[in-house]
Symmetry: C2
Subunit: 508 residues, 2 copies
């Protein structure tokens, strides 16, 4: 796994008309008060919380019994002699217990330490109600007393969280799912999606808390199957459309606080997935007017993309505009990128047809050439597998070629069977994002049982490990794995892992 | 050096009438904006502060050029790519540079870690103006970036302190002091006093930030010679008088936030110094009405004290009501305590005479007996020194017997000369509080040159070491000495060290 920070100097335009539309679709944030249900310390009871006087190095861990995105407050008093020193304490928020065991001082990862959810608080005067102003993503809250004084102890009462989400549970339509494990996977997927539904579809409410296009595509699909909040998808599409580079390129993610700002990070297929997200929205809730309005933005992405293909129809990858596919950089991505382009080009042509635009013949020709190159040069009929530019046969190439329906249904099924036989079990892929693609390809290729098995093995394993929500990264062979070297900055509620709700609804 | 935390269960009365008077004398807090004058890093200039982009582990140290008690604020922006992570930083406040070199994680002292003046701050959205709500005591502010992200840096502009004090410099009357060092000692003493003048006379604005009676006595004396804020002294007297134990004992210190609360700590002569403080106030600004009002409180302290003397007139010390004299517990304090009682009894009788109370003959008799015991049993005419109960000849015994004028002026001078010859240089005493007593005894005994030498050697040495204000603890033989094992919790601006302004005004 590796990740390279991009720093680019592109100039961006702000289309105020589109951004005003994004603003008009800003969602209501629903808030709900939540109380902790127990203390993790087996010797202490939550009902007796106010009886415990805590001194230097004492700690309590509140368990709210569910994942929460929101704010925390608690009443703090003292017992003993008058308060002859400030109270100094650390408050740590954790989605999973593993985070509580990690000490921030040990963290040496490349990702910013600032994501560690812990605060150091001085209170000069007790009693006080502590209301932390920041939003956290957590189920557990550890309060550690760094110091009182030898003369008095701190006492905590009325801990409370206010959970925030723009997901409206009254709109949720859960299908009947006979299989218990699949049903539980579905539920955790719904929670994961809901927790990421905030002012935008966030990728992770703990970290990075912003709108990524690759995540948005999957969140939107999961959303149509559950909360069906169309306005929130529109808001996100307008945000991307309203802030492109001067040449029209969409960045991989945007910030909305303190003001709308596009990031200077670009990923090849993330730009293209703007097309997919619009296509999926229109599929789910046909809206030709919206398609016509945003079609020029789609076209610009496709035009920029097609410049990267050579005369034969082969994708010439550019490390400054990388094909993502998955976090892993341990496999060749050019063939997968070629397939993603085909996948999107088909959707783009369908959108163009809706707009009634003439002159899209050139795009049909481009699709034909690019798909033809894939079939003729990248498919190895002797192996029944697609090959990457470096001669490598990897899962990602097969998966995306199947999703793009480059070959016939029968050939796709054969490719997938070969993949399962020769390339499974999955190795070196640790994101639910890529696992989603594998599962969907299996469904698309008609291998439903294999798809269900993969879902149960992967998402089911997270549940087995205590997940309330699905994770940003998970390698079933290395359950402790963190791309950052420590669980303390892992995101245990991450949008791109919510897709079982979509897969189950669509294929089962 | 040692300090024992007292935890007592005495019940206290709150005399609302007296506390209302305390409230009526609550001072105005004067506020003044202060800008830093330089950066401690020689390679950086304060005028170019806004040009420095700071990333993980970078730090800047602002030097405000003077001691400040107050609040801190600064504008924070970012430079580089969009802010893709919170800013996390540590802000450390220091009265002396030595505090900046000490790491809080290394601190293992018995005093609460919560006094360490450092905050850990997350800012999710930049730009922002950071306005820290707590009050600090500092000249230096170190800002250390714990993390940004690899894509952007933090930029600081417009750092500002708002200094707070109830001292009114327009009232200050500095005498002409020809000697440069004494003049500088005077100035630092004034600053020390002013910085401790807040809502009450605090002992130290960094730590413990409350009203101690032993410190109040000295602050009040220094105050009459400088800012002459009579109301603030009255406020403090009413606070002590308004919150005694049910048997009438005054505690060693009181808290005024969040509400008026007496501490459950009692020191023998601190209770008695209520008498001294009222006596000194009336000496400075005669107010027979106030004397009459507070006389019963004085009498109660004296009555409680006299119960601790045996039939011969000897103080039977009680470890639950310890004689303080100095922080050191390495010398016997009974003879000094006997002397302090004589010192206060004389003042009490003078106050009683003002009230016109009859029936104070018994107090005159008690004084006579206690002073007689001192002269006959505790004075060793062969050595020309007072001896403590354990046979020890120590400085504190001589000093307090001279201050109490137990012997004649000639004998006092002889005692002091013997003390200088046999017991000097001072060893094992590290508080300006006790050094003040030594200096004052030398002045009282007519040894002006020796007193000046002591002042220059002791307070002058602090100036030489870079003091802007005088310290809670200082041992000239061990300049690095901290009673807490680390300078990080030392109070470098401590009320009981401000007395050179009083000594110079009174004796020079």
């Amino acid at each position: 796994m590796a990740f390279t920070f991009q720093v680019n100097s592109d100039k961006f335009i702000h289309d105020e008309k589109l951004l005003a539309k994004a603003e008009s679709f800003r969602p209501t944030i629903h808030k709900a008060a939540v109380k902790p249900v127990r203390l993790l310390d087996p010797e202490r009871e939550i009902s007796r919380l106010g009886e415990y006087g805590l001194k230097r190095d004492d700690r309590i861990i509140l368990d709210f019994g569910r994942h929460i995105v929101g704010k925390f407050s608690v009443d703090i008093a003292k017992t003993g002699s008058p308060q002859d020193a400030p109270l100094f304490m650390r408050i740590k928020f954790a989605e999973m217990p593993a985070e509580l065991q990690a000490e921030s001082s040990d963290y040496q990862g490349w990702l910013s330490r600032s994501w560690i959810q812990e605060e150091f608080i001085h209170l000069d005067e007790l009693p006080a109600r502590l209301e932390l102003p920041r939003r956290y993503s957590f189920r557990y809250v550890e309060i550690k007393i760094i110091d009182t004084s030898p003369k008095w102890q701190a006492v905590f009462t009325n801990p409370q969280a206010v959970a925030e989400s723009s997901a409206d549970y009254s709109k949720l339509r859960k299908p009947e799912i006979a299989d218990d494990l699949l049903s539980r996977i579905y539920d955790a997927g719904v929670t994961t999606l809901a927790e990421c539904m905030q002012d935008v579809f966030e990728d992770g409410p703990k970290r990075d808390r912003r709108l990524w296009l690759g995540d948005l595509r999957l969140q939107a699909l999961a959303n149509y199957a559950t909360f069906d909040n169309i306005d929130l998808v529109k808001r996100c599409l307008y945000l991307f459309a309203g802030m492109t580079t001067e040449e029209g390129k969409i960045s991989a993610n945007v910030f909305t606080r303190p003001e709308n700002t596009p990031d200077d990070t670009f990923l090849y297929e993330y730009s293209l997935f703007f097309v997919s997200t619009l296509y999926d929205l229109n599929n789910s809730h046909p809206d030709p007017e919206l398609v016509r309005e945003l079609y020029p933005v789609c076209k610009r992405q496709v035009d920029l993309t097609l410049k990267m293909f050579d005369a034969e129809g082969r994708l010439m990858t550019d490390e400054n505009y990388p094909v993502f596919v998955d976090w892993s950089n341990d496999f060749a991505k050019d063939t997968a990128g070629q397939a993603e382009t085909i996948y999107v080009l088909k959707q783009f042509i369908a959108l163009a047809e809706i707009t009634g635009e003439s002159g899209i013949e050139s795009y049909r020709e481009a699709l034909s050439k690019i798909a033809g190159y894939a079939r003729e040069k990248l498919y190895d009929p002797s192996r029944k597998l697609f090959v990457a530019g470096n001669g490598e046969y990897n899962i990602a190439s097969q998966v995306w070629m199947v999703l793009a329906h480059v070959m016939s249904d029968d050939e796709n099924r054969e490719i997938l069977r070969t993949m399962i036989r020769e390339l499974f079990p999955v190795k070196g892929i640790a994101t639910p994002y890529m696992y989603h693609c594998i599962a969907e390809a299996l469904f698309e290729g008609g291998l439903k049982d294999e798809a269900v098995k993969l879902m149960k093995d992967y998402w089911g394993k997270m549940l087995e490990l205590g997940a309330d929500t699905f994770w940003e990264a998970f390698d079933p062979d290395k359950p402790e794995y963190s791309p950052y070297g420590s669980p303390i900055v892992n995101s245990y509620c991450h949008a791109w892992s919510c897709t079982p709700v979509y897969l189950i609804s669509k294929y089962l």
